[in-house]
Symmetry: C2
Subunit: 384 residues, 2 copies
Amino acid sequence: MTFELLGRDGRARRGRMTLPHGVVETPTFMPVGTAGTVKGLTPHELRDAKTQILLANTYHLWLRPGAAIIAHAGGLHRFMAWDGPILTDSGGFQVFSLRERRRLDDDGVTFASHLDGSMHRFTPESVIQFEESLGVDIAMVLDVCVRLPAERQELERAVALTSQWATRAAAARARPETAVFGIVQGGLDRALRERSARDVIAAGFDGYAIGGLSVGETRAEMEEATRFCADLLPAERPRYLMGIGTVLDALLAIDGGIDMFDCVYPTRCGRNGRAMTRAGEFHIRNAAFVCDLRPIDQTCDCLVCRTFTRAYLAHLFRSNEMLGPRLLSYHNVFMLNQLLADARDAIEQKDWARFCAGIKEGVHRNPLISRNVAEDIAAGEGGN
Amino acid sequence: MTFELLGRDGRARRGRMTLPHGVVETPTFMPVGTAGTVKGLTPHELRDAKTQILLANTYHLWLRPGAAIIAHAGGLHRFMAWDGPILTDSGGFQVFSLRERRRLDDDGVTFASHLDGSMHRFTPESVIQFEESLGVDIAMVLDVCVRLPAERQELERAVALTSQWATRAAAARARPETAVFGIVQGGLDRALRERSARDVIAAGFDGYAIGGLSVGETRAEMEEATRFCADLLPAERPRYLMGIGTVLDALLAIDGGIDMFDCVYPTRCGRNGRAMTRAGEFHIRNAAFVCDLRPIDQTCDCLVCRTFTRAYLAHLFRSNEMLGPRLLSYHNVFMLNQLLADARDAIEQKDWARFCAGIKEGVHRNPLISRNVAEDIAAGEGGN
């Protein structure tokens, strides 16, 4: 892969990744296709919704359908019929979320499948080998992710193992077409983040991710850590902030010098009736929308906003019709991708600060519909 | 509306309905959009899958979202963003399925909503008024539907009331753009069917439906009753057989002189993993398909068959991914619509008997996958 840094405006960066399956203009959002499908949407629709690159989950694909079937189908692109770039995570985040169902040792991590309890083992080498077998454009290295707040000792061990595993992952590479990104850990501890960045950069990767954020810390802490970590990373490589995807988080990331980020947020919200707009979020089941003949977002040019009313979407959700989650997921993905396209323009035109402030003002204008909804989702509103 | 009878081949008829929202070539299948949505599919996809006319359910739309909201949206077409022809059933079938929750009298039927227990009342007049308020192309009159087998006395009363209500419905018409179809009842009793047909034809409608079949009788009984009833109906009006939608039932209907039919079958099967093909049906969750890189149907030209493998569909269903039901519903609707298009060609070319026999042979070729699956569905495999 190649990465060109085309311009900057403050910390915000405008870049371009060229990958085996296409060009990705950055900063970019990556919708999440956990099990080889972005829930409810076809590859054609993802393109139409301005998606440049997808993320798929190693943990889920490893367990089902497994490496053999995807290889039999000719790789993940052909299996899921998406011909654009794909990034796979390393499964680290999922495995460490299993808590009681996994056992970490210095060599790797053994875990029980959430599907059937069968035992599996991830090592830095086995994960790279799996991701390369999928034929993806970008593979992430196996890291050790810690939920915050955490003891310093736990963070230290996570950083040390993440560094060792990064070196092993780099040595395990066998497929030049698959770029590999390292991951910086260290929680909110500056010294640990510095140590982690130094080690992972020394191992040598095509790009660098900031892991271990958006895992329990405050928003101010995440913002500070994002900036601090981004500044530690080489300017000539893409920088990826893992697991964020609200409008405000997107602005935070770009403003901190991030080039890529991913989250289930837009599709999970969409499935649960939460509409994302530049004037904040709202829940389509709210009684206010039953008779509302406006589109979800009057400023949005997506197929859903051009075709359907809030009243119809409200009816679909109240009737538990599967078309509702599908249409709202599409809108949310389009909306975030369009925001990113506009952000790229703003950076090119050295207008980032004004653009960013304008979007923030819009989101905050309606406090009722712009409150943080991460808790709702964590509390079980959504699927995975 | 106008109906032209363009040709015949045996009993099979080739016709054309011209309705306010478009032309419908017959014989035709009508996918069912119960609550103003064909489950999982957009209007654009329905068109793409060769749908000419949709059916929507008066009972469901009456209860939710209700007449006021649809009128506020500018009618059912605008509400659901489908600009082609729509036929609404009268709600009779649904209401009489409620059994313990409804009370029939000579003037109409009072029932409790399955959603919230609220009480509602259908009369021949209130149903026509509701359907006209939706702005649909074809409205069905309220009839009294009886589950088979039934006592002759019950059938007689159903026929008598259906006849009286037909006359009242005809008198209640107020919107010339909405065509109205009468419904012939009478179970498997020839004398009652004759009486019902005579009365309903005397009331005078734009088309005639055969109701009260596919409700418990054998296949041979349905075939015989369809032919007998079709022969009772005026040749110059469209004939609609209500509630059938398998490949074999489609052949039976066309062969009996039917021009239109509807069923949830293709979409319900699609949601539940059952693929319809001209070589019979199969369940995509079957282990045989996990590694099968062929499309659902190698003879099918639909977007799903051109894009995705059985292996991928099997993965989606095994992972409970909503894309699976969506894609298989699309294929099944396309497949049945394409079968009808080919049937129309065959009738035009006086090749109906050979075509019909060829499709039957294909479906029967694989007995394992072509067994009657109505029982599976009745046993709770599907939603509504």
